[in-house]
C-alpha cells in the first residue's frame, strides 16, 4: 500500500511537472499571439499611413484583450445542415498541432520540453495535420464559399508540403540529425556557419512555403477575403472562429521559430567569433537571440501582407511545383556534392558524423 502510493506520487509529480512546463510554454505563446495581432495592426498601420489601435488602454495596448473578450462572449452559430461534430472538431484540429509542435522547439541549449531525436519529423507530421482542420472546417460548414476554401487549401498543401519537406531534407543532410537541438549545435561557429548561407535557396523556399502553409498573404487563397469572403471559416463565429485565428498566429510564430532554428542558428549569438562583441554580449541568454530572430521573420510576415497582392490558387500551385520544387531538388544535389567534397566550414565532418 505504501509502495503503491509512493510510485503513484512519483508519476503524479512527473505529470504535474510536465503540465507545468506546458503551461510555461503555452501561456507566453498565447500572450505572444495576442500581441502579434496588436503588432500586426500597428506595423501595417504605420505602413499604410494610419495609426492602428489606440483607444483601448495606453496606446491601444489592451485592444487584443478586448478583442478576445468580445469573441468569447459571442454566440457560436452552428449552421443548419452543417455536420455538427466535424464543425466543432475542425478548430480543435487546427490549433492542437500548432501548440503541440512547440514541444520540441529548443529555446536555449537544453531548454526544451522534449528532447526528441526525431524532432524534425515530428514537426513535419504535426504541421501537416493542421491543414486537416482547414479542410474539415470547409467541408463541415455546408457552405459553398467554405467548400471552395477547403479545396484551395488542399491544393495548396499538396504543392507546398513537398518543397518544404525537401528544404528540411537539406537541413538534416547538413546537420546529420533530426534533433532540433543538434541542428542548432551543428551551426555553432559564427554567423557565416549558420545554414542560411550554404542553404540559401532552401532557406528562402522554406520560409516562403511557411508563409503559404500558414495561409498568410500573398498566399491566403484559402481565406481569399475578396473572393470567397473568409473561405473555410466563413461560417464560424465567436470562440470557434477565435480558435482558428489563434491557430493561424501560433503557426506564424512556429514557422518563425523553426526558420530561426533551422537556418539562423536558433539560440546562438550573432556575434559569435567576433572578438570583442562576443564577450560583451556573452551575458545575453540564448532565448533573447532566438526571439530577436523570430521577430525578424514575424515582421516579414506582416510586411508581405501590406505589400503584395494575392496569388490566384493555380499560380500558387505553379510556383510550388515549377519553381520551388526544382530549386530544392537541385540544391540537394549541390549540397550532396559539397558534403562528399567535405566543403568547409559547413560540410566537413558531416560524412563521418553520419556514419
Amino acid at each position: 500500500m505504501f509502495d503503491l502510493s509512493s510510485i503513484l506520487s512519483e508519476q503524479v509529480i512527473t505529470v504535474l511537472w510536465t503540465l507545468l512546463k506546458i503551461v510555461v510554454i503555452v501561456a507566453p505563446l498565447m500572450l505572444s499571439v495576442a500581441y502579434l495581432t496588436y503588432a500586426e495592426r500597428k506595423v501595417i498601420g504605420a505602413m499604410q499611413v494610419r495609426v492602428g489601435p489606440q483607444r483601448v488602454g495606453y496606446k491601444g495596448l489592451l485592444q487584443p484583450i478586448a478583442d478576445a473578450l468580445k469573441l468569447m462572449f459571442k454566440e457560436i452559430i452552428l449552421p443548419t445542415g452543417a455536420n455538427k461534430t466535424l464543425f466543432v472538431i475542425a478548430p480543435v484540429l487546427s490549433i492542437a498541432p500548432a501548440l503541440a509542435a512547440w514541444a520540441v522547439i529548443p529555446f536555449d541549449d537544453g531548454l526544451v520540453l522534449s528532447e526528441l531525436d526525431a524532432g524534425l519529423l515530428y514537426i513535419l507530421a504535426l504541421t501537416s495535420v493542421g491543414v486537416y482542420g482547414v479542410i474539415i472546417a470547409g467541408w463541415a460548414s455546408n457552405s459553398k464559399y467554405a467548400f471552395l476554401g477547403a479545396m484551395r487549401s488542399a491544393a495548396q498543401v499538396v504543392s507546398y508540403e513537398i518543397a518544404m519537406g525537401f528544404a528540411l531534407v537539406g537541413v538534416l543532410m547538413a546537420a546529420g540529425s533530426l534533433n532540433l537541438g543538434d541542428i542548432v549545435r551543428a551551426q555553432d561557429g559564427n554567423i557565416l556557419t549558420w545554414y542560411w548561407l550554404p542553404l540559401l535557396p532552401l532557406f528562402v523556399v522554406y520560409f516562403l512555403s511557411g508563409v503559404a502553409e500558414t495561409n498568410r498573404a500573398p498566399f491566403d487563397v484559402a481565406e481569399g477575403e475578396s473572393e470567397i469572403v473568409a473561405g473555410f471559416h466563413v461560417e464560424y463565429s465567436g470562440m470557434t472562429f477565435a480558435i482558428f485565428f489563434l491557430a493561424e498566429y501560433a503557426n506564424m510564430i512556429l514557422i518563425a521559430a523553426l526558420t530561426s532554428i533551422l537556418f539562423l542558428g536558433g539560440w546562438l549569438s550573432p556575434f559569435q567569433g567576433i572578438p570583442v562583441l562576443d564577450e560583451m554580449t556573452a551575458w545575453v541568454p540564448g532565448l533573447v537571440w532566438l526571439l530577436a530572430k523570430m521577430s525578424i521573420f514575424l515582421f516579414l510576415f506582416l510586411w508581405f501582407r501590406a505589400t503584395f497582392p494575392r496569388y490566384r490558387y493555380d499560380q500558387i500551385m505553379r510556383l510550388g511545383w515549377k519553381a520551388f520544387l526544382p530549386v530544392t531538388i537541385f540544391w540537394l544535389f549541390v549540397e550532396g556534392i559539397a558534403i562528399y567534397a567535405e566543403l568547409g566550414p559547413w560540410f566537413d565532418g558531416v560524412l563521418g558524423a553520419a556514419s
Partner: protein, 429 residues
C-alpha cells in the same frame, strides 16, 4: 445546370453537376450591390449572370416631377464617386435645349472640376481594384489623396461628395479666395496640423496648383506597388481580354474601350466646353486586358493632372462671370435683388417656378471617368422634363460580364469586376 462530361473521369457524367455560386449582393468584392450568379466547374467559370436593380431609386421618374434644377442633386447620387461629371452631362443637356451660352470662366471651372472628379474616381477605382486583388496598402494611399480632392469639392460647394455645384448656364458660384484649413484640436499634434495644411495658405486655386505639383510623385508611389509587381501582373495580364471589335460591339466607352486600343474620347472627338483649347493625350492599351486598362487609367490620372494645371493657370489670370447673365435661367446677383424690383421678381420666379424649356429633345454626353455618360431630355415646354433618360457607361460594361469572365477562375471574376469600375448608383439609377 449543364453536365460536363470532360471532368467526369471514372464517374458517370450525370453525377457531375456544375456548381452554382451566389456571389453577392453582400460580398466584399461586390462593389456595392452586385449580385452575380456564377455557374462554375470547380473554380472555372462557365457562366456569369449579373443581377441588377438592388439600388434602383427611380431617378429618371423622379426627375419628371421636379423642376430642372431640383434634379441636379439626383445626378450626384447616380455615380456617387464621380459626382460633378454626372451633373455636367445633365446641365449640358438643359443648356442645349435652352440654347444659352456659358461664360468662359465657368467652362474652365467645369473642365477643371471634371478632371478633379476623374482623379477622384480613378483613385477610388485603383484602391478598390487593388484591394480586390489583395494589395490593401494602395487603397489607403489612394484615400489619402482623395481627402485633398474632397476638400476641394467642399471648398466650392459645401459638400464633400454630393456637390450640386454645376447649374445650367455655369456654376453656382466662383472659386473662393481662401482655402479652408484644418483647425487645431486636442487630437492633432502641431506637426500633423502642419502636414495637413500644406498648400492651404492661399486661395483654392493656389491649393489646386500645389496639388498638381505633388500628385505625379504620388502616382509614382502607387505604381511602385503595382506596375512591375510580378503578382499584380500575374493577376491582371491576359485576364478579361476584350479586343477592339468586341469592345465596340459591347458598347464599351471610356477606359474600357481605350484599354482595347480604340482612341475614342469625347473630349477629343466631340469637344465640349474648352477641351479643344487644352493640351492632353489620350492613352490607349494594346491587348485589352485588365493590366492595359490599369495602365490606361493610371496615365489618365497623369493627363487629368496636366489639364487641371492648365485650367488653374488660366483661371488665375482671367476673372469674370461664372454663370449666365440670362436672368430667366440664372439667379440675379444678391445685391441687385435687394434694390431692384425686377431682380426681386426674377429671383422669386427662379426659385419657385424655375424656368421653362422650349419643346424639343436633346442629348448631351460627357467623357465621364467611366465612359460616355449622357442624358437625354424630352421637353414638352414645361418647367420639368417630360422624360429623362440617363445613359450610364457602367451598364454596358457590366453587361459584358459573362463575355469577360467565361473560362477564367473565381479569383479573376473579382479582378474583372474591379477593372470594370462598376458603381451601382449609375447602373441601377
Amino acid at each position: 445546370m449543364s453536365n460536363d462530361a470532360s471532368t467526369a473521369s471514372g464517374m458517370s457524367s450525370s453525377e457531375i453537376r456544375n456548381f452554382t455560386l451566389n456571389f453577392g449582393p453582400q460580398h466584399p468584392a461586390a462593389h456595392g450591390v452586385l449580385r452575380l450568379i456564377l455557374e462554375m466547374d470547380g473554380e472555372t467559370i462557365d457562366r456569369a449572370d449579373p443581377h441588377i436593380g438592388l439600388l434602383h431609386r427611380g431617378t429618371e421618374k423622379l426627375a419628371e416631377q421636379r423642376m430642372f434644377n431640383q434634379s441636379i442633386p439626383y445626378m450626384d447620387r447616380l455615380d456617387y464617386v464621380s459626382m460633378m461629371c454626372n451633373e455636367h452631362a445633365y446641365v449640358m443637356t438643359i443648356e442645349k435645349l435652352l440654347g444659352i451660352e456659358v461664360p468662359e470662366r465657368a467652362q474652365y471651372i467645369r473642365v477643371m472640376y471634371d478632371e478633379i472628379t476623374r482623379i477622384l474616381n480613378h483613385l477610388m477605382w485603383l484602391g478598390t481594384h487593388a484591394l480586390d486583388v489583395g494589395a490593401m496598402t494602395v487603397f489607403l494611399y489612394c484615400f489619402r489623396e482623395r481627402e485633398d480632392l474632397m476638400d476641394l469639392y467642399e471648398a466650392v460647394s459645401g459638400a464633400r461628395m454630393h456637390a450640386a455645384y454645376y447649374r445650367p448656364g455655369g456654376v453656382y458660384r466662383d472659386l473662393p479666395d481662401e482655402m479652408p484649413k484644418h483647425k487645431p484640436n486636442q487630437w492633432r499634434s502641431e506637426a500633423d496640423l502642419k502636414a495637413q495644411n500644406v498648400g492651404r495658405d492661399g486661395s483654392v486655386l493656389d491649393f489646386i496648383e500645389n496639388f498638381t505639383e505633388r500628385f505625379p510623385a504620388l502616382v509614382d508611389e502607387y505604381e511602385t506597388l503595382l506596375t512591375d509587381n510580378r503578382i499584380w501582373k500575374q493577376r491582371t495580364v491576359d485576364i478579361g481580354i476584350v479586343d477592339a471589335d468586341l469592345a465596340k460591339q459591347l458598347g464599351f466607352t471610356g477606359p474600357m474601350l481605350r484599354g482595347s486600343g480604340v482612341a475614342w474620347d469625347l473630349r477629343r472627338k466631340e469637344p465640349y466646353e474648352v477641351y479643344d483649347k487644352l493640351d492632353f493625350d489620350i492613352p490607349v492599351g494594346v491587348t485589352g486586358d485588365c493590366y492595359d486598362r490599369y495602365l490606361v487609367r493610371i496615365e489618365e490620372m497623369r493627363q487629368s493632372n496636366h489639364i487641371i494645371k492648365q485650367c488653374a493657370a488660366w483661371l488665375q489670370q482671367n476673372p469674370g462671370p461664372v454663370i449666365s447673365s440670362d436672368l430667366k435661367v440664372a439667379p440675379p446677383a444678391r445685391a441687385d435683388m435687394k434694390e431692384g424690383m425686377e431682380s426681386l421678381i426674377h429671383h422669386f420666379k427662379y426659385f419657385t417656378e424655375g424656368y421653362s424649356v422650349p419643346e424639343g429633345e436633346a442629348y448631351a454626353a460627357v467623357e465621364h471617368p467611366k465612359g460616355e455618360f449622357g442624358t437625354y431630355i424630352l421637353s414638352d415646354g414645361a418647367n420639368k422634363p417630360y422624360r429623362l433618360k440617363i445613359r450610364a457607361p457602367g451598364f454596358a460594361h457590366l453587361s459584358a460580364m459573362d463575355e469577360m469572365v467565361k473560362g477564367h477562375m473565381l479569383a479573376d471574376v473579382v479582378a474583372v469586376i474591379g477593372t470594370m469600375d462598376v458603381v451601382f448608383g449609375e447602373i441601377d439609377r
